[in-house]
């Protein structure tokens, strides 16, 4: 009898344990309000907390979430969406077209909103009927669907948002699979299962705890000692440690972002003061001195896909007319000779993250063989952003976490008036092609416009794209049902402990 009781207790203990999923995050998220949120890591928590109108699948196709279908108007200036019925927010309020209108207007109008830029072309939102909403645009805007798969598509409870005002992020109320439990800053965020979730059959945990553990070694130690079930952003150098351990699994997928070197070609007068910014031949020589395969192997332990554009070669919008150039040191030297600078020197500003530091060192060594004297300037991240925005740099190693639509990786950085165009690059033909790709819905036609952009960018090199990292996740072998989506977010639907 005693033995039976013990077994029953043990079984209950195991079940209780299995009902909590513990996820190790690489950073502490910022405010949990989809309108104001600014960090990538915050989006991982939102994936459990706030459903979006649309979502992405493994191949970056747009799939339904809170909206079940959508249709463009004949002039492509209005998007009509049918909404899922029977959905409620965590406070019991009903999700309907009026809630969508409220949310999109909140994203657009709330002071300090980070979504305003993403939704700039949205001119108004009409409630057609309780389950149908129409988003009117000032001009056709192809990236809108992808934008609605991210924070701009997240729906919060209008009642809760009105009540809490700008403090809403301290206690967010959405309609995702888990509701907000508690947050202890820098320690943990706890979410509790929402029993009225519309897709509750796909949810197999009672609770999710997100623990920010900045140090990758300590994050891994927590997984190995059994205190975490899942960690995001496993360090590439730790892959061999886990590969042969049958208690764990590693999952990976190529990111939608990129790692590259931005070159100041016209942001400030510094551009004209160094040969790299001034002369396209020097930039070509610099690129030819680099071996992307070797960079990936040495700096990323092979956990990245070499690339030379704002999207990875495996992406449907990768422009095939601008393939990755092979390393050619002899040609690089010739080009430098033609440019009249046999040993050009420039400063490569590098954030202090270990990835960026390693890339800079490998680049420095490779470029030296062609005659370049690269001086690495390690700069704390916030300071480096500031210097980049002011044009106080010659070249800058910078990663971008990426957006699902190629426009999100391109317009901001390459268009003349792109807010993050730190290179100072401005070519009217490129601007025109980017703009046309934004207003065209047909993917084949859009790809043609991106071919035009790629041809220019490959020649002018305002950014030398290097590679696209693998999102690396490690988890207990007992955890199954993980969907690897290139946006790097951890969807909780389908995850379960066997």
């Amino acid at each position: 009898m005693k033995r039976l009781t013990f077994l029953a207790l043990a079984a209950i203990a195991v079940t209780a344990h299995a009902q909590t999923l513990r996820i190790g995050l690489a950073e502490d998220p910022d405010i949990l309000d989809p309108t104001l949120a600014r960090t990538f890591v915050g989006r991982i928590v939102f994936a459990g907390l706030c459903d979006k109108l649309l979502d992405l699948d493994e191949k970056l196709n747009i799939v339904p979430q809170l909206a079940t279908s959508y249709e463009w108007s004949s002039d492509n200036k209005a998007l009509t969406m049918k909404l899922r019925s029977g959905v409620t927010f965590h406070d019991g309020e009903k999700f309907d077209a009026a809630a969508v209108k409220y949310n999109l207007e909140r994203h657009k109008n709330m002071p300090g909103s980070n979504r305003r830029g993403e939704l700039a072309p949205v001119s108004s939102v009409d409630v057609v009927d309780p389950s149908t909403v129409r988003i009117n645009l000032s001009a056709p805007f192809a990236p809108l669907l992808a934008v609605l798969t991210d924070r701009a598509g997240m729906m919060v409870s209008p009642k809760a948002a009105q009540g809490a005002g700008e403090k809403f992020g301290a206690h967010p109320v959405c309609s995702g699979p888990f509701r907000f439990g508690e947050r202890v800053a820098q320690d943990r965020i706890t979410l509790e299962r929402y029993d009225n979730y519309w897709n509750k059959a796909a949810i197999h945990f009672q609770r999710v705890v997100y623990l920010p553990i900045v140090d990758a070694t300590v994050r891994l130690a927590n997984l190995r000692s059994g205190q975490l079930d899942f960690i995001e952003r496993l360090a590439p150098s730790d892959v061999p440690v886990l590969k042969n351990d049958s208690r764990f699994r590693i999952a990976r997928i190529v990111e939608i972002g990129y790692q590259g070197i931005t070159i100041n070609t016209g942001k400030s007068e510094l551009a004209q003061k160094n040969p790299l910014g001034k002369d396209p031949r020097v930039r070509e020589a610099f690129e030819l001195s680099l071996d992307r395969d070797a960079i990936v192997k040495v700096a990323m332990e092979g956990e990245a896909q070499p690339g030379n554009q704002w999207v990875a070669p495996s992406n449907r919008y990768y422009a095939k007319n601008a393939p990755i150039p092979k390393r050619n040191v002899a040609r690089a030297k010739e080009l430098l000779k033609e440019a009249g600078v046999a040993n050009p020197s420039f400063t490569l500003m590098t954030p202090t993250t270990s990835d960026a530091q390693r890339v800079a060192q490998v680049v420095q060594a490779m470029a030296k063989e062609a005659g370049f004297d690269v001086k690495i300037q390690s700069t704390e991240f916030a300071t480096s952003l500031n210097l980049a925005d002011k044009g106080q740099f010659e070249a800058y190693v910078l990663a971008w976490s990426g957006r699902a639509d190629p426009d999100g990786n391109l317009h901001t950085f390459i268009a003349c008036k792109g807010p993050l165009n730190t290179s100072g690059y401005c070519v009217p033909e490129v601007d025109d092609a980017i703009e046309k790709a934004r207003t065209t819905l047909d993917p084949a036609q859009r790809a043609k416009y991106y071919d035009v952009v790629a041809a220019h960018v490959a020649k002018d090199r305002p950014i030398i794209y290097l590679y696209h990292r693998n999102w690396l996740w490690a988890h207990s072998a007992k955890l199954t049902g993980l969907h690897t989506i290139p946006d790097g977010l951890v969807r909780l639907q389908g995850l379960q402990m066997k």
Partner: protein, 313 residues
């Protein structure tokens, strides 16, 4: 006594005022625009402008200092921009964690440091002494983060005895709390134990060679009584000061240890705030730490006063 206390208290006010100016001024020297750091990866110009206006970053420095100071005088340290929580609340949330860590660390440091120091002095120039010196050298020269990671790998990953990192409140689970805190407390206390050991040793050596100790021995007192009662008591005076100052340092300086062990305390709060340019948090926490430091100094002086009768005259 009262006069002495009042005198000391009177010096605290101008000191704190100067500290507040220093904190505010030094922070302005940090490179990088806080609005850009706060605006996140997108750095949307509208958001940057909004943040700049909201936090008065576009106003002259003296005005900004005045806004902050008047808030502080009313007991309002402002809100964290990043997570929108009042700084006072954050301090109250994190303080007990760091106090516990620092208290455990100082107990470990005192026990190891004073014991090793006394043994080393009494057994001067023996293997005991050499061993204690090697320990002190090791403690001083081992970086906290390195020792922390080694301990995690040994006790959490290999042996599975202790959790790798994190924190549980003692009110929720006392055993879990001690298990989570023992490694970081040891790492933090280890380096300080070495300092205490060196000081205890030299103070003990000095006292042991003094006349009154010789007299005590001549009286035929037991060696244990001579060392522990007569010599150690006097030798402890500089060690007490050091201990009090050390506690202040441990409170503010648990930065690396808290980072490695992901302990949500003061050190982690301030490091994250500096990197995120969360000014009000940095200012609030530093001002608070400075106040604690100054208060501990005062308490150490009072302890002097009580331990050493000569100071009373």
């Amino acid at each position: 006594m009262l006069n002495y206390l009042l005198q000391r208290l009177a010096t605290i006010v101008p000191t704190l005022f100067l500290v507040s100016i220093l904190i505010f001024g030094l922070q302005q020297l940090l490179p990088g625009d806080p609005a850009i750091a706060l605006a996140g990866e997108d750095r949307d110009p509208n958001v940057v402008a909004f943040l700049r206006a909201k936090f008065h970053l576009d106003e002259p420095l003296p005005m900004r200092y005045w806004y902050w100071l008047s808030g502080v005088l009313h007991g309002d340290l402002g809100d964290s921009v990043r997570i929108q929580k009042p700084v006072t609340e954050l301090i109250l949330e994190k303080l007990p964690v760091t106090i516990q860590l620092a208290a455990m660390a100082i107990v470990i440091a005192l026990v190891i440091g004073i014991t090793a120091g006394v043994i080393s002095a009494v057994k001067q120039d023996t293997w005991w002494d050499y061993g204690a010196n090697v320990f002190a050298l090791w403690g001083l020269s081992t970086p906290n983060f390195w020792l922390g990671i080694l301990l995690i790998l040994l006790f959490a990953v290999q042996l599975g005895w202790l959790p790798a990192s994190g924190y549980v409140s003692p009110f929720e689970d006392l055993k879990g709390n001690l298990a989570a805190m023992i490694m970081p407390a040891f790492v933090l206390g280890n380096a300080f134990a070495a300092v205490l050991m060196r000081h205890t040793r030299s103070a003990m050596l000095q006292v042991l060679s003094s006349d009154y100790v010789r007299t005590a021995r001549a009286k035929g007192l037991d060696e244990r009584v001579v060392v522990l009662k007569h010599a150690l008591r006097n030798a402890l005076i500089p060690v007490i000061t050091l201990g009090a100052l050390g506690l202040g340092e441990l409170l503010g300086g648990a930065v690396l240890t808290e980072q490695v062990f992901t302990i949500p305390g003061f050190g982690k709060l301030i490091v994250d705030a500096v990197f995120n340019r969360d000014y009000s948090v940095v200012q609030g926490v530093v001002l608070f730490t400075a106040t604690v430091y100054i208060t501990l100094n005062l308490l150490a002086d009072l302890a002097y006063y009580l331990v050493n009768p000569r100071l009373r005259h």
